[in-house]
Symmetry: D2
Subunit: 309 residues, 4 copies
Amino acid sequence: MHLTPTAAGVFPIAPTPFAADGSLDWASAERLFAWYDGLGADGTTVLGIMGEAPKLEPEESLGIVKAAVAGMPGKPVIVGVSAPGFAAMRRLARDAMEAGAAAVMIAPPPSLRTDDQITGYYAQAIEAIGADIPFVIQDFPLTLSVIMTPAVIRRIVMDNPSCVMLKHEDWPGLEKISALRRFEADGSLRHISILTGNGGLFLDFEMERGADGAMTGYAFPEMLIDTVALQKAGRRDDAHDLFDAHLPLLRYEQQPGAGLAVRKYTLMRRGILASDAQRKPGAGLTPAAKAEVDYLLARLARKDARAAL
Amino acid sequence: MHLTPTAAGVFPIAPTPFAADGSLDWASAERLFAWYDGLGADGTTVLGIMGEAPKLEPEESLGIVKAAVAGMPGKPVIVGVSAPGFAAMRRLARDAMEAGAAAVMIAPPPSLRTDDQITGYYAQAIEAIGADIPFVIQDFPLTLSVIMTPAVIRRIVMDNPSCVMLKHEDWPGLEKISALRRFEADGSLRHISILTGNGGLFLDFEMERGADGAMTGYAFPEMLIDTVALQKAGRRDDAHDLFDAHLPLLRYEQQPGAGLAVRKYTLMRRGILASDAQRKPGAGLTPAAKAEVDYLLARLARKDARAAL
Amino acid sequence: MHLTPTAAGVFPIAPTPFAADGSLDWASAERLFAWYDGLGADGTTVLGIMGEAPKLEPEESLGIVKAAVAGMPGKPVIVGVSAPGFAAMRRLARDAMEAGAAAVMIAPPPSLRTDDQITGYYAQAIEAIGADIPFVIQDFPLTLSVIMTPAVIRRIVMDNPSCVMLKHEDWPGLEKISALRRFEADGSLRHISILTGNGGLFLDFEMERGADGAMTGYAFPEMLIDTVALQKAGRRDDAHDLFDAHLPLLRYEQQPGAGLAVRKYTLMRRGILASDAQRKPGAGLTPAAKAEVDYLLARLARKDARAAL
Amino acid sequence: MHLTPTAAGVFPIAPTPFAADGSLDWASAERLFAWYDGLGADGTTVLGIMGEAPKLEPEESLGIVKAAVAGMPGKPVIVGVSAPGFAAMRRLARDAMEAGAAAVMIAPPPSLRTDDQITGYYAQAIEAIGADIPFVIQDFPLTLSVIMTPAVIRRIVMDNPSCVMLKHEDWPGLEKISALRRFEADGSLRHISILTGNGGLFLDFEMERGADGAMTGYAFPEMLIDTVALQKAGRRDDAHDLFDAHLPLLRYEQQPGAGLAVRKYTLMRRGILASDAQRKPGAGLTPAAKAEVDYLLARLARKDARAAL
């Protein structure tokens, strides 16, 4: 199954589960993907920035892909293949597709500056991995320091038929979604799927601007799924009510660097992960921070019973 | 009146009001500072990053300082004096103090990298402006790309007796507040005031970690004032309830680049500013964004009557 | 007199002379510009990055402009007006032109990334200073971290009729000169003057690629003038022989950060500046470094008598 | 054989030879290392930034290590193991040592800013690869944008007994060598080897400041070897005479980005590499640039017969 430009809905970004000793926790991985599937997620993305991908051995990376494919039967798995060199990118991309992945996701290296450098990089990357593999553009300036204008994204999409999706996490980014959809309306851009990231911090309005869904790792994917569904059903106020109830926790989770620790801790408290350990280097939460998350969970539970732990 | 390390409470960051033709709108400036004063703000900060300071002529900058001093009688006015050269910094600092300011605020230039470069820069800046002027460290890595560890902040404070306050807007930053307060507890750091920025996005927990208040420009300073007061009164849940009600709008305002436009638009809708114009270069809100802010205001009004416009 | 796109030859970048106590040394400034004039320089550029411009008071900046205009009668003076805000840029630009300057030079602020941001910035800057003032684009990625492709430079030139010159100091940059001259040959770019910087490190080949001369601060402007003249006369080997003789010293001077200290020390040893002092902040040469410069000067004197001090 | 802090002399940085079709050219690799050995190089460094390491498959990387070990019997081979994650770094480091390497070289990732981040990174890296593997610090701010003060380097050296060498390529960097040697003199730093990079652009003076030799890829390693030997023999003027003769070409080669193409082209013209091809992405020289290199080689041949091709 290959990902297509009509993909939509919620693709949770999967953290990679580790045991306290740093070894990969395959049982938690299995539980995680089964849980995503049962919640009604439309697919998943593995080996993203939040997946601690650079800390994995090649066999472990491939193992995670296989666990996701097995755990979400019939649903597309997207695999982050960003790498400092095209040799490693190509190998992981082709191995992942052979293992059943539906697409790969490519982020630009932080050194890129000019429009031509960015479009040139994607041309070379696609030449390296092969034009037969569907790919997702990751647009994440806050972390990657690469700024892609809507016109640059259009050039990448129009120059590369295998581009099927934009993972949008520019910040601020609402006007960018509108600009891209205007390009589609005026015929200068073919349709691609736009899923949004940034931890979901603007998902409420992103849907109204034309996004197709979310691809992010908030520890309550149920909320992402429901918000997307409510917006698609035209129930705007209900969507915002649910979203706003989660915003205090979501905002807390969306802290650069610290976010993954919050997410893993919450998923552990929810019983999905056996441990909130990160492989080194990676800092856990302080007791003060854990108490803050607990407090936010308790407050959230008053409005959304799924947070009652 | 000179600012001291015991300063606390809420110091709104003042936007600089312009008319649609780009001229300085002195009437709105007068109204703004009187409004801050009436709300119970403990002081104000002018010519900060949000104050469009680099767009002002020297006489205009001084005019804003005088307007703030006149509009908030008996309350401290802090003046941003960050500049690419020490000549301009010194002149504005001394002129501002002569005009009645209580302190100046200094941000590190984006080129600084090592610990020694940062502490060396502050030593030189204080030598340039004079050690008789109280100063505030602005710690804002997201915008300035300069990273100060708690130990570096301690060195600046201990090396420079005229340092009285930290404007804290690291992100994430909760652990930094805790680390600095631990330094005070172990005797390695003298007490300074810590006011927090980042649009207030973490004010709820920052107060619990030891902050003394907020210095930021959220367009409802009433909420900042009330949250600080509730936390100081030990009414934790009430503080969070109020904060959470405002979070959807606050989050929307806290978008890099776009934030000032949201803030000015809201202040215009509230009747404080006559126009939401920014002096060039500076983009306003699109109609879609204005509609989103209006929607957020309407939703907020259901929980906080002060948002009913 | 206004600078035109036919400008050519050598425009030394003038350092700003200070006395040991940090005060401006007007006598040395007078001597410096008279010396440039006598050597046959075709103009000069003041208040550039090497001119310690941000350390000057506004009256001092204007004083330097006037000293250059008076010291080089009938020759064009270019004034660096780069500033964090357009208000300061406009004021200095208009004051400088009124004082007799021939053009201004504008560098992009380091925060610019995309092609549109760069061209947009120049459009706004020209709107701010006025389209009646000839301007020079400063393209210096190593220091400014802004990367302008040849196509972006073309857009700036074609969009702004008042653009007359490119100060080229990309590194590497030979292919950029060739690309711009190809644009002129194919009719997509009108002719502008290209003077090169980078301390002159590639001047030998830059002239062969199509540069019109040099705008840099090497402490032997005589060599720059002779190399440009020899290349224009078609005496390639002679040009390289002279250039190569100076290269060990020129290379030593072309060290980021340390270069100005080397330059001022050499100009002091040559009797042009009374002191090699920089205004704070700014480090001088260590004794070891001075001894190295002395050694290089002694070696150079064996090949170029003008270095015998 | 493990590298020790007494290592000295010249370790050429080896380019990775490719055929025109992008495949690894093992015959040229064999010729290259035999040539280094015959010239009297004291060792070699492979898989550095100039070695196009991120473009290699893991087996190819290990193949290059083995070719170097086989081609330079009894001489130390240093292996660049910088990687975005510690898993890949550990694997390559341990495989390389097992294959006969003498040490590994580690560059800090570009995201590091504060002193603590840098020293913390090295602590984690050494924990990952094992403290039994000698390592080299690569200090290359121009490319890596990480600035290490002498005090930070001292902390890394003193905290990690397996640190044996600094590859010094700060720019400017002469004072840094002096500062580190002063640390040794005052007893605060144990002795380590310092080999210098930057293409050799300051090798003449670096030796006088206390460097032990060079680790760089200039296409005439003979000159590096002779300059180091002359300086060690106290023949200062002779060392500078030889160095200055090569400086025009060396300067041309030392252009960021373009340098590797110049180097491979020269090595091809010298008969060492069968092709000057780089694996994608990587641009070759234009005809104009090749003609410039040819001209520089012809000029050099008048002073150093080894350049007569």
